[in-house]
Symmetry: C2
Subunit: 736 residues, 2 copies
C-alpha cells in the first residue's frame, strides 16, 4: 500500500463513482428508450373506458331527432343537405378528414304526375276499387313535403290486367305447392304475396319464374302486428293504411345495376337500362292490409292450407280470379315508376392511424331513408354520429389509434346497397390489401328485448370481451354480456350468448361477401322465441318516426347507447390493439360445425350418396387441417415478441384469413357472391346456412333434368369448399 498515496486512492474512488454513475446512466438510457412501436397490451383499459364513457344517451337522442325531421330519400336534395351537415359535424368533432364522395347510379321513383295503384275492374272496364295512393301521414308531419308514397323501387312499368292468384309468402316452396300439389298455374296471372320470411326481391323473382305478369305485395297483420299492441301512434303496430316500401331487385351483390363490378364514376361505362343487373321484368306494387282485405275478400278457387292463412278476415282462397258472380272482374296494376341515373353521396370520415395508417377499420351505415327513417337507418346513423363524436374528442385530447379508422355514411342502401357497394368497388384493391374489419351500422334497434350480434367467427371472442365492459340497459349494475346471456343463451352449442352468422341485405355485403373482410353487426332485437312478426311492424312505412323510438322502443335511449358502445368498442379494439383481436380457433370450431351440418343434410339422400360416390371426407379433412393450423397459430401468437415486423406478420395473417375464404370465380352464376363459407344461398330454404355452394347444389337436385349431372355439381362444390378451407389454413402459416 505504501506507494498508493491517499490522494491517488481518493481519485480512484471518485473515478469509480463517476464511472458507476455513467454506467447507471447508460443502462437507464438504454432501457428507457422505447423500441419502436413495440407491442403494448392493446388500447389501455383507460382509453377504452374513456371512449365508452364519452358517449351519452342524450346525445344519441338529439342526433336521432335532427336526422328524422325530414325525409331523406336517396338522390334527393334533402339527403345531400344531410350529407353536408354530417360531414361538417364530423370535422367539427375532430376527425382528420371528412369528405363527400359521389356516384351516379340507377335509382327509381314514382312518376309524380301518374300515381301507382291497383284497381279492380268490372267487365265494363270501370275501376270499381282503387288502392290508396299514399299512407295517412302521422300527426305533426302533415305539412312535410316530399313524402314518397309506398312503391316497389325498380318495378317494371306497365298496366297488366288479369286474374289474381294468392301465393302465400311467394317462396320457392309456396310456388312448388301451388303448381305441383294444387295444380294452379301462375302463368299470365297477377300474383299477390304477403310480405315476410324472405326478401321481397326473391318473391318477385319467383313470380317471374312462375310466369306471372305482375305481383302485388301486402303486409298481413299476422306478420306485421304484435298481439296486444295497438297500431301507431297508440302503439308500435302497423296501421291498416301503412305499407312497406322497398326495392325489388335481384342484384346478388352487383351494386349499381348499370355498372356491375365497377364504381359508377364519370369514366365508367354504363349498360343500357334493359341490360341492367337484377331488374325485374314485371310490375310490382306494395299495399297495406286494409287494401289487401278488399282484394282478397272475394277471391275464388281452392281453400289453402292453414299455414297460408294470415290474420285478415278473409278466406285466403287461392284463385285464380274472384269467386263466382264476380268472376268477370279483373285486377289491374297501374305502375308508372321511372328508373333514372341519379347522383348519390357517401360521407367518408377518417382518423389516421399513428403506427399503421395503411390498416383500416371501417364503421359504416346508411343515411338514406324511405321516409323519416325513424328506425331504419337513423338509429344507426345517430349511433355512428355519437361514436364519431367520442372518438374525435379523444383525438382532440391527443390520442390517436394505431390503425386508421374510416367512418362511412352510405347513400342509397335502400336501392340495393348502392353507396356502400360503389365505394367498395372503387377502393376494392386497397381494401383487399389493407382492410382489417368492417362493422356495419344499420338500424340499431328492431326490438326491446336484448342484444343481437351477427359476425364472423373470428370476432366472437372480441364481442364477448367488449360486452363484459358495457353496462346493460335492461338491469342496473349488470354487464350487457350478463343480461344478454341470460336472455339468449347459445343452448345446445355452448354456454354463452348466441351469436349468429352474418346474412345479407345490408351494407356489409360488398365488404364481407365480395371482398372477404371480417365483418360484424350489432343491434337491439326482439325475443325471437315469442315474437313471430317479420322485422318490426312499421318497417319502411311513414310511421317510422322519431316518436316511435322515443315513445316505444327506447325512451331512455340506453339501448341505443349500449349498441353504440358495442359497435364503438369493436372498432376501437380492432383499431388500437397491437395484436389484432381476431380468434382463428373460433373459426375452426365454426367450420367443423358447418361441415357436420352439411354432411347431415346430404344424408337425406343415402342411396344417391352411394350411387354417385359423394363423400364429405375431403371437407372434413380440410377442416381438421384448418383446426391444426389455427391451434398452432394461437400457440405461436402467445409468444409474439415486441419485434414490430413479427407483430405485423402475425396481424397480416389474421387479417388475410377472412380473405382466404373468397373464391375469385364466385358462386355459380353469381360472380359477386364470392365468400365460400358465408355467401347467401340462392334458396331461401337454406338462408342462413354456411357452404352455400354445396347447399344450392343439393337443393337443385330436386329440379335437375339429370340427377347424375346434379350430383356431379354437388361433388364439385364439396371439392371447392375443401380447397378453400385448405387454402385458408395455409394463410395461418407464416412461411407456408
Amino acid at each position: 500500500m505504501g506507494f498508493l498515496s491517499s490522494r491517488v486512492f481518493k481519485w480512484i474512488c471518485w473515478l469509480s463513482v463517476v464511472a458507476a454513475f455513467f454506467l447507471i446512466g447508460f443502462l437507464i438510457g438504454w432501457f428507457a428508450r422505447p423500441t419502436q412501436s413495440a407491442r403494448s397490451d392493446g388500447p389501455s383499459h383507460a382509453v377504452l373506458q374513456e371512449f365508452l364513457d364519452e358517449m351519452q344517451a342524450e346525445n344519441i337522442r338529439q342526433h336521432l331527432r335532427k336526422f328524422t325531421r325530414l325525409p331523406h330519400l336517396a338522390g334527393t336534395e334533402q339527403n345531400l343537405r344531410l350529407a353536408e351537415r354530417i360531414r361538417d359535424e364530423w370535422l367539427r368533432y375532430g376527425l382528420d378528414s371528412a369528405e363527400i364522395v359521389h356516384y351516379d347510379v340507377l335509382l327509381s321513383y314514382p312518376n309524380e304526375t301518374k300515381p301507382n295503384y291497383i284497381s279492380v275492374v268490372d267487365d265494363a272496364g270501370n275501376e270499381v276499387f282503387n288502392s290508396s295512393l299514399s299512407e295517412p301521414v302521422p300527426e305533426g308531419y302533415e305539412d312535410v313535403p316530399n313524402i314518397v308514397p309506398p312503391y316497389s323501387a325498380f318495378s317494371a312499368k306497365g298496366q297488366p290486367e288479369g286474374d289474381m292468384v294468392y301465393v302465400n309468402y311467394g317462396r320457392t316452396e309456396d310456388f312448388f305447392l301451388l303448381q305441383r300439389d294444387m295444380g294452379v298455374n301462375c302463368s299470365g296471372k297477377i300474383v299477390i304475396a304477403r310480405y315476410g320470411k324472405i326478401f321481397r326481391g326473391n318473391k318477385v323473382k319467383n313470380a317471374i319464374l312462375a310466369g306471372a305478369k305482375g305481383i302485388i305485395l301486402f303486409s298481413d297483420p299476422a306478420d306485421y302486428c304484435a298481439p296486444g299492441v295497438r297500431p301507431y301512434p297508440d302503439g308500435w303496430n302497423l296501421p291498416g293504411g301503412g305499407a312497406q316500401r322497398g326495392n325489388v331487385l335481384n342484384l346478388n351483390g352487383a351494386g349499381d345495376p348499370l355498372t356491375p363490378g365497377y364504381p359508377a364514376k364519370e369514366y365508367t361505362y354504363r349498360y343500357r337500362t334493359d341490360e341492367g343487373a337484377g331488374l325485374p321484368s314485371i310490375p310490382v306494387h306494395p299495399i297495406g292490409y286494409n287494401d289487401a282485405a278488399v282484394l282478397l275478400r272475394n277471391m275464388g278457387g281452392q281453400i289453402p292450407p292453414n299455414n297460408w292463412k294470415g290474420d285478415l278476415n278473409v278466406s285466403y282462397r287461392i284463385g285464380p280470379g274472384f269467386a263466382d258472380g264476380l268472376a268477370n272482374r279483373k285486377v289491374r296494376m297501374n305502375i308508372h315508376t321511372i328508373n333514372r341515373v341519379t347522383r348519390i353521396y357517401n360521407v367518408i370520415g377518417k382518423i389516421r392511424g399513428a403506427v399503421e395508417p395503411d390498416r383500416y377499420i371501417i364503421l359504416g351505415g346508411h343515411r338514406d331513408a324511405w321516409v323519416f327513417g325513424g328506425i331504419d337507418p337513423s338509429t344507426g346513423a345517430a349511433v355512428v354520429h355519437e361514436t364519431v363524436r367520442s372518438a374525435g374528442t379523444l383525438v382532440g385530447r391527443g390520442w390517436r389509434p394505431r390503425r386508421t379508422i374510416i367512418f362511412a355514411s352510405w347513400d342509397a342502401e335502400e336501392f340495393g346497397l348502392l353507396g356502400s357497394t360503389e365505394w367498395a368497388e372503387e377502393h376494392a384493391k386497397i381494401l383487399q390489401e389493407r382492410a382489417v374489419a368492417y362493422i356495419n351500422a344499420d338500424s340499431a334497434i328492431e326490438g326491446m328485448y336484448t342484444l343481437r350480434v351477427d359476425c364472423v367467427p373470428s370476432l366472437h371472442t372480441l364481442v364477448y370481451d367488449v360486452t363484459k365492459k358495457i353496462s346493460s340497459p335492461d338491469e342496473d349494475g349488470v354487464s350487457l354480456y350478463d343480461s344478454w346471456h341470460k336472455k339468449d343463451n347459445w343452448t345446445d352449442d355452448r354456454d354463452a350468448p348466441r351469436i349468429s352468422k352474418l346474412g345479407s341485405g345490408s351494407d356489409f355485403e360488398a365488404y364481407f361477401i365480395r371482398l372477404g373482410i371480417a365483418s360484424g353487426r350489432a343491434r337491439y332485437t326482439k325475443n325471437t322465441k315469442t315474437e313471430k312478426y317479420s322485422s318490426y311492424p312499421v318497417y319502411h312505412s311513414v310511421y317510422e318516426t322519431f316518436e316511435l323510438v322515443e315513445r316505444f322502443y327506447d325512451p331512455s335511449f340506453r339501448k341505443l347507447l349500449a349498441v353504440a358502445q358495442v359497435r364503438g368498442a369493436l372498432v376501437l379494439r380492432l383499431a388500437d390493439s397491437p395484436l389484432l383481436p381476431l380468434d382463428c380457433t373460433e373459426y375452426a370450431d365454426a367450420l367443423a360445425k358447418y361441415a357436420r351440418a352439411i354432411a347431415e343434410a346430404a344424408r337425406k339422400h343415402p342411396d344417391e350418396l352411394l350411387e354417385y360416390r359423394v363423400s364429405f371426407d375431403a371437407l372434413f379433412s380440410a377442416v381438421d387441417n384448418f383446426t391444426a393450423a389455427a391451434t398452432s397459430f394461437h400457440e405461436r401468437g402467445e409468444h409474439v415478441t415486441s419485434n414490430t415486423v413479427c407483430v405485423r406478420m402475425a396481424n397480416d395473417q389474421l387479417m388475410y384469413l377472412e380473405r382466404a375464404f373468397v373464391d375469385p370465380l364466385g358462386l355459380p352464376g353469381r360472380p359477386f357472391y364470392r365468400h365460400i363459407i358465408f355467401a347467401p344461398s340462392s334458396h331461401n330454404k337454406y338462408a342462413g346456412e354456411s357452404f352455400p355452394g354445396i347447399y344450392d347444389a343439393l337443393f337443385d337436385i330436386q329440379n335437375a333434368p339429370r340427377p347424375d349431372k346434379a350430383w356431379e355439381e354437388v361433388k364439385r362444390q364439396i371439392s371447392i369448399a375443401a380447397f378453400t378451407v385448405h387454402a385458408a389454413a395455409m394463410t395461418l402459416n407464416p412461411t407456408a
Copy 2:
C-alpha cells in the same frame, strides 16, 4: 459567498461532474441502442458480388450435361427420378427445405401400339405415302429408350380423310385471306399450316373455326433454317427429318384442363375429358420438311401470294386437293394419341427469410422436356441449379436473405404450363398476399447475339442496375449492360438497352397474368434484326442435345453464366434490399406510352370514333393520375426512415402495385387472363400489345354483326382500363 464553505463548493463540483457523466452515459445509452431491424442499405455490394462470383460456367456445363442424358417427358418415371435428384442436390447445396409436390393432371401421349402418321391415299384406298414415324436419332443417342416420336399433345383421336388446303401460318389473317379474297372454303378439309409466327394452339383453334376436320403442322426451312448454317449435327439448323413436338391446347391460363381454377389434388373435382378446358376437337399432327415437301409437291388450286411461299422446292399451291391427274388422291391423318390423368412432380426449395419470412421471391423454371431438352428447358434448369448452389453456399457461410426465396422446378410445362399453374392455384391466396416477384427460368439461350430481357416496367431499373455489375460474355472487360446496350438499343424510345413486355407461353403466366405478381425473364438471344427464323431451328426436336449447346450455342458456357447471374442478381436484390427495388415511375412512363399507342390505333376509325362518341380521355386522365401518384411515392420513398413499419408499408405498396392491375372478373370469356395491362390479346395481330381488352374489342369490330354493339364494347374496355389505372394509383397512396 460567506456561508458557502469551500467543502460544500467542492461537493457541488463533484456532484455536477457525476451528474454530467450520468447524463452523458444516459445519452450514449439512449442513442447507442439500435432500433429494431432498422433499414440498412440493401444487400451489401460484397454479398451480391460473392453470390455472383460463386457461380461458375463449368458447373453450369456439368449440370446441363447430367440433365440431358435421358429424355424427361412429363409424367414419366425418368422425370420423377430427376426431380428426386434435384431435390436431394438442393438440400445438399444448403437450402432450408426442398420437397416434391405432386398433382394429377391430364397429359397426352402417343398410343404405343398404334403410331400416328399422315398418309396419301389413292382411289383404291392404298396408302401411297406415309409420313415418318420418328426422327432419325442423333449419333450417340441410338440406344436411348423412351424417345417420344413427334406428336401434337392433346390432339383429338381420329382418321379424317379428305382434300388438303395450305393455310400459310394458320393465322386469323391467313384464314381471312383464304376465305374472303381467294374464295377457298376450309370446311370439311384437312388444312396444312407451317409453324411459326403464332402459338401452334392458335393455328388449331383457327382451323377449327374455319371448319377443318384435321390440321397438319410442318416446319418450313424458311422458318427453321438459318442461311449458311448446316443441319444438325454439322450445324444448328433443323434437319429435314426433324419435327416440332408441342401441345395444341387453348387453355388461356386454365392449367390442368380438367380442374380449371383449382389445384389438381386428390380432393379436387375433375371434369370429364370431353368437358375439359382448351382441348381441340380435331386431329393435329406435326411433320418435318422432308415429309411436307411430299405432301405439298402435287397440290392443285390457286397460286398463293409470295409471302405465303416458304423455302421448299414446291409451288405452295393452296388446293383444295392435289393437282389434276392426282385429284382422286386424298390425305388421311391417323391419330391415336391418348389423353390420360397422370401424376406430375414439382420440386420446391426454400431459403427462409431472416426478417420477413412471409415475403416471397420466386425463381421458377420447368424440368420436363419433350426429349433431351438440350436447350428447352435444361439450359434454364442448369442455371437455376447453379443459382441454388451459390445461394446455398452463402447460407452455409451464415448469410440469410431478408425475405424468403422459393426455387421451383416445374413439371409438365410442355403440356400447358401445368406444374407451375397447379402450384399457383394451390397457393393462390398466400401468393396474392405475400409474393413480391416471380423470375422465370425457362431456356436460358435461344441465340448467340446478346441479352434479352422481358419484364414488368417496375423492374426496368433493377435490370439495368444488375447488368452493370455483371461481365459481358461477349467482350472482356466490358459490362453485360454495355455490350447489350451496344447491340440492342431501345432506339426511338430511350437510350438504354431494349427491354420488352412479358408475353405468355411460359411458367410465369399464372403468377403474372392471373395473380398479378411482378415478373421477369432473361435469356441470350439472336439478333432479331437479321435472324428471321422462328425461335431456334431445332426447337422441340430430338436434336436439342447437350452437344448442340456445347458445340454451337455456348461453348464456353459464359453466356449461360451471364444469364444465371442476371436471374440470380434480380432474385438476390429483390430478396435482400430493405426497400424493394421496384420503380413505379417506370410503370407510369410505360402506361403513358401504351395509352398513346392504343389511342393511335383507334384513330384508324375516325368516323366511328365520332359517331359512337368513343374517347380515350378517361384513360389519359387515369394515366396522369397514376403518374402523379408514382412521382409522389418516389419522392416520399427517398425519405423512408429506419422505422421498420414504415419500410414494410412502403414495400407493401410496391408489392401490391402489380396486383392492382388484375381485374377479378378477367378479360371477356377468359377468366384466368386477368392482367388488364399485360394479358395476351386474343388476336395474334395484337400479340405483344398492352391493354388487350381494348385491342381485342377494336379487332372484333371487323367481324361484329352490329357495329354499334362492338363500339360499345370498345368503350366498356376503355372504361375498365381507366378504372384499373386509377385503382393502381390508389395503391401508391398509404392512406388513400
